[in-house]
Symmetry: C2
Subunit: 382 residues, 2 copies
């Protein structure tokens, strides 16, 4: 789900009204061991999770409040004031000092200081549903008036009526895929960027009554700045759609588009009315999750990171790939432990499940950040 | 050809001894209008060109010499001393000054100063054959002793014997693909990088008696440095294999791996003897040529470049995509016009054909650099 989308649903004269291009693709194996079918299942599963949650309502709606305030001893010069003085902070600062001090045995040349970050659940909120899922369903509602056929055709009819049970009653994965493609493909890259921009500026999370770019983690913003100040180049490597994330990564995280890596759909180069245009096709290009993360890291960055931050089992291979390389390496897992200020979830969560990676952490020397204990604030400004 | 590689030919127990994975892939449409079949044809065509040239010998073997020396008036502070004071140089310098001077109507903020460069024929030599083609065929010879079956099986047998006519007599494209996969896949990314590194350090071009990294264009090295000194971020966007180019782009061009974009094969993430490994599979991931260039630019860089340098029809869409965007834009074509110091070729060449893009240049305001007239030296140090 987190990657792609709308068929040219804006025109019922679409060349592929039934999604057969995508379905054909689903059936052809690719990516050596990770088939489209696998990706589609993963996507569909995630969408299913969201829709189910939307259907049953979210019980974790505790009011926004803080369990602790910034610690009084955070000096004005502390680059990480939202981090309590616990072992996690100490280990991170120690790593940065060891690897950036000339003459240190662990010194890493500036060019090799590559740090990668998952996005959902690591840099910003992912509960009760991935933000991009919320975008997809709201887009579906917004687009419905131009698609009278959706009120007759499944799975659009049920999705618009909120009857997600029916959407997933049979052919759930195919149906989920159709909903996704209906909202993320069929337009130019410029048009999609404008839609994302507009949505991010206005859509609000119900529990926190904030726009989503305001639901980034302040301690992680500090980590990004701190690392960049020490010569690290910061990249996002996320299952989220690359163009969706680029809609806010620059102004919110300070990460330019060329350092945002994510899932993507295929593009087609066309000259439209004399103007070169890239159209977004309803065909998955790559799913940047799990073992897909080391793969895109190698393809796009071309060298192994020295630091990786993640929060779920989807980050397991990225953490392995980063920290198993020779030399000083840092792996960090953000563990959501604060139901009062944010959410508490791990091994049994359907969104952002953290199970295998939590077991792997002590074996690999990864730091597990306890949000409740290690962070004295969660979001900017509170 | 310019992208991928060896099946696990080092083991006759390969899971896919007949290349059926690749062939299956060839038959499935993808990339919205650019099928693998198209890519394979392009690749095979290029390899065919090379093999044909190798077969008939290269007649353009004029001795290395210079037709002109650096102009006497090139001052010590001139950032482009290998460029003669012609209109091309003036236009490039004028563009950089206009777009980087605060207060200029054409000023471009530093973050948006993205410059993209084709590699083969733009930054380094591509005649009489793409360098990566030479690598592939030499690797085939080197690997032959470990593959006794190649002396019995086609197309390896004919290729090793230099009988390229037989290789292409029937099923030429499939045969070419097999030769390519035999040399670029079936090993880990680290192993391939080591092979490329070793080959580039020793292999020499016959005409110039230089290693290939010594056959880069000095005037283009100056352009790269000049642009970076003016805040431009320089990227390679080439049909060449991304991992092959990374083998020299850093030390020769000053372009880090994360700014090298090229054709690629698929990777598979595996834990081998407890060690995370990325294996190179004999399956094309993307062909970064022609309309593929704007596509990878959008996917990886995420914004439109303001400067593009190319030299062949494979760069046409990249130049279009770059210069049709609003604001000041610069498109440059390197025209190979110097048979004495390098090579002279354009509309009818089978390697690096420049035909449609040459016609498009005046219509789009692209600068056409005449190597013979505009450059006072070709390679570093001569």
């Amino acid at each position: 789900m987190k990657y792609a989308n709308t068929m040219a649903r804006s025109s019922s004269k679409s060349d592929d009204p039934d999604g057969s291009i995508y379905l054909k693709r689903l059936r052809s194996p690719r990516r050596g061991g990770r088939s489209d079918w696998y990706c589609a299942r993963l996507i569909a599963f995630r969408l299913l999770v969201f829709l189910s949650l939307a259907l049953v309502g979210c019980s974790a709606t505790a009011p926004l409040q803080e369990s602790s305030r910034p610690s009084a001893d955070a000096s004005a010069t502390d680059p990480l004031p939202s981090w309590n003085k616990t072992a996690a902070k100490k280990a991170i600062v120690d790593f940065v000092q060891r690897t950036t001090t000339t003459g240190s045995a662990d010194f890493i040349p500036p060019a090799e200081r590559i740090a990668v970050f998952d996005d959902d659940g690591t840099l910003w909120i992912e509960q009760p549903a991935y933000v991009q899922f919320v975008f997809a369903l709201q887009r579906l509602q917004e687009m419905a008036s131009q698609h009278p056929e959706w009120h007759r055709e499944e799975p659009y009819r049920s999705a618009l009526a909120g009857d997600t049970a029916h959407v997933f009653a049979s052919n759930g994965e195919v149906n989920a895929t159709k909903l996704i493609m209906a909202t993320h493909a069929g337009m130019s890259t410029d048009q999609f960027a404008a839609q994302v921009h507009d949505w991010l500026a206005t859509a609000r999370d119900k529990r926190f009554n904030r726009t989503y770019p305001e639901l980034v983690y302040q301690p992680m913003l500090e980590i990004l700045s701190y690392l960049r100040a020490n010569g690290f180049k910061t990249f996002i490597v996320s299952g989220g759609g690359v163009e969706f994330m680029r809609g806010f990564a620059g102004r919110v995280y300070g990460i330019p588009p060329e350092q945002v890596i994510g899932s993507s759909i295929q593009y087609q180069y066309r000259i439209i009315a004399g103007k070169p245009t890239l159209m977004r096709l309803p065909i998955l290009e790559n799913m940047d999750d799990g073992p897909g993360k080391p793969i895109t890291i190698q393809r796009v960055i071309g060298r192994r990171p020295v630091i990786a931050f993640g929060n779920s089992d989807g980050d397991l291979q990225m953490l392995e790939w980063t920290t198993s390389a020779p030399g000083a390496r840092l792996g960090v897992i953000i563990h959501h432990t604060d139901a009062v200020r944010e959410y508490a979830y791990d091994r049994t969560s359907k969104v952002g499940r953290l199970d295998k990676a939590l077991d792997a952490a002590p074996l690999n020397g990864w730091i597990v950040v306890d949000m409740k204990q290690d962070w004295n604030r969660i979001f900017p400004g509170n």
